[in-house]
Symmetry: C2
Subunit: 268 residues, 2 copies
């Protein structure tokens, strides 16, 4: 595939099989190295400006199959950014208290306040992914969630939050390789969980659930990006570039200083 869009067209059904997880836009790891360092510096500057500005927030949603690279993306893209302005929230199996509320209740508590970058490692999308694949609630319930998600995300956008959603797209072969690495490397053993093998068997159902989630919840305000993620360096590069473009588009600026600063004298 010579060209591949990162953002699918809005309002059209998609097939993930049409997206090549190996796509790398003719680039290679070596010739993006220098640019990656520059991008890291730029991201650090922009985050610092977002924090000073305090009028907007950025929410980044990361979704992927197991071993798809959610943790690695956070580590590689954000190590180098001042952690004071970054809040990472991971969403695992909900607690009893969380299940006793609507599915967005626990999510809402973690949306970033103005000035901050919030990163969701998994998210409210699990409620139309794992929940749908395993029939954890009736279809009549999850079917309504796409609209609820859109309304919820619109609420955040209308309150000054930009939203970027990334699906890190790997294929079954890549997942097998990564699982095998976890089995073989003692320093990665702890990341392996037998439960992940059950999820792997449901691969095709998950792809369908992702296709629907992306199609139903892909908007100009809160767009999905299908990130070719078999190559980790390309995945990181694409995610970083997309975040930087978004921050640059936010017209961040230092807040107005208090008036008459030039008249102030500090006593000894």
């Amino acid at each position: 595939m010579s060209q591949q869009e990162l953002r699918p067209p809005i309002g059209k059904k998609i097939k993930l099989a049409d997206y090549d997880p190996n796509f790398h836009d003719g680039l290679d790891k070596d010739n993006t190295k220098v640019e990656t360092v520059l991008l890291q510096k730029r991201l650090k500057q922009l985050q610092s400006m977002l924090f000073a500005d305090k009028s907007q927030a950025l929410l980044i949603v990361l979704q992927a199959m197991d071993a798809g690279g959610k943790d690695g993306t956070i580590k590689h893209v954000f190590t180098g950014v001042n952690p004071q302005g970054v809040r990472v929230a991971g969403f695992k199996q909900p607690s009893d208290e969380e299940l006793a509320h609507d599915f967005l209740w626990r999510i809402h508590q973690h949306v970033p306040e103005k000035g901050y970058i919030g990163i969701f490692n998994r998210s409210h999308y699990e409620d139309v992914l794992i929940v749908r694949v395993n029939n954890l609630v009736p279809k009549a319930v999850w079917e309504k969630r796409y609209d609820h998600i859109n309304h919820f995300e619109k609420l955040l956008v209308d309150s000054g939050t930009r939203i970027l959603k990334f699906y890190l797209h790997i294929d079954r072969d890549e997942q097998k390789e990564r699982f095998e690495e976890r089995l073989q490397r003692p320093d990665k053993n702890w990341k392996f969980s037998r439960g992940d093998l059950g999820v792997r068997k449901q691969w095709d159902e998950y792809m369908k659930a992702y296709e629907t989630a992306i199609y139903r919840c892909h908007t100009d305000d809160a767009p999905w990006h299908i990130v070719p993620a078999n190559r980790k360096w390309y995945r990181n590069y694409v995610v970083m570039k997309t975040i930087i473009e978004t921050l640059e588009d936010m017209n961040l600026k230092y807040p107005d200083p208090e008036p008459d600063l030039d008249k102030i004298v500090i006593d000894s």
Copy 2:
């Protein structure tokens, strides 16, 4: 002063005037540069191990006068660490809801869970600093808080959290210089607040309040460090070294893998 202890003796009253904020242990910025880079790498590794291990947590408390370098310390020490494992909590003026609870209620919500480094940018110590200096509650109330703090910190320690408390020690001259920089540099104007000038006038009362807080709440389990902080590079160096020594002392290790990993075959 040729030598200066970072940790004051336990159970003895201290005078901050005895601690030189310019102390730099005979080092200079240039000859610590290489070591600082190595320390950053080591901190990154140790944080990653803490996150994998998930049996202990680290709480770092930062206190200082305005412009003392709390934000700068976080930025310089922790930029380079994976933000997924770091939670920074800033404590400003309490809300009505927070004031309607005991003073540790809002603090308790932000203590780090196992696997995490929690950083407090200001903390429960404000309740025996600004509160005491300005008589925001009667003496009979704040006087009891030192014991409450010690009991609270012991609770955390007994639950697997290490605590490091840093007082970033600058003098009035250094604060004046830093305020003047905020007034002069357009990119720093936004950090200047007229309110800080009022606090500056209370410098001596604050020093007394810090001396009591350090003396009353300095324990083997949750020690205070008086960090010479006029020189930013030395401040960062000392804080980083102390954090690393503590993490190294925690005997972090990768958790035990699930049994019989070698018998697992991943299907194609």
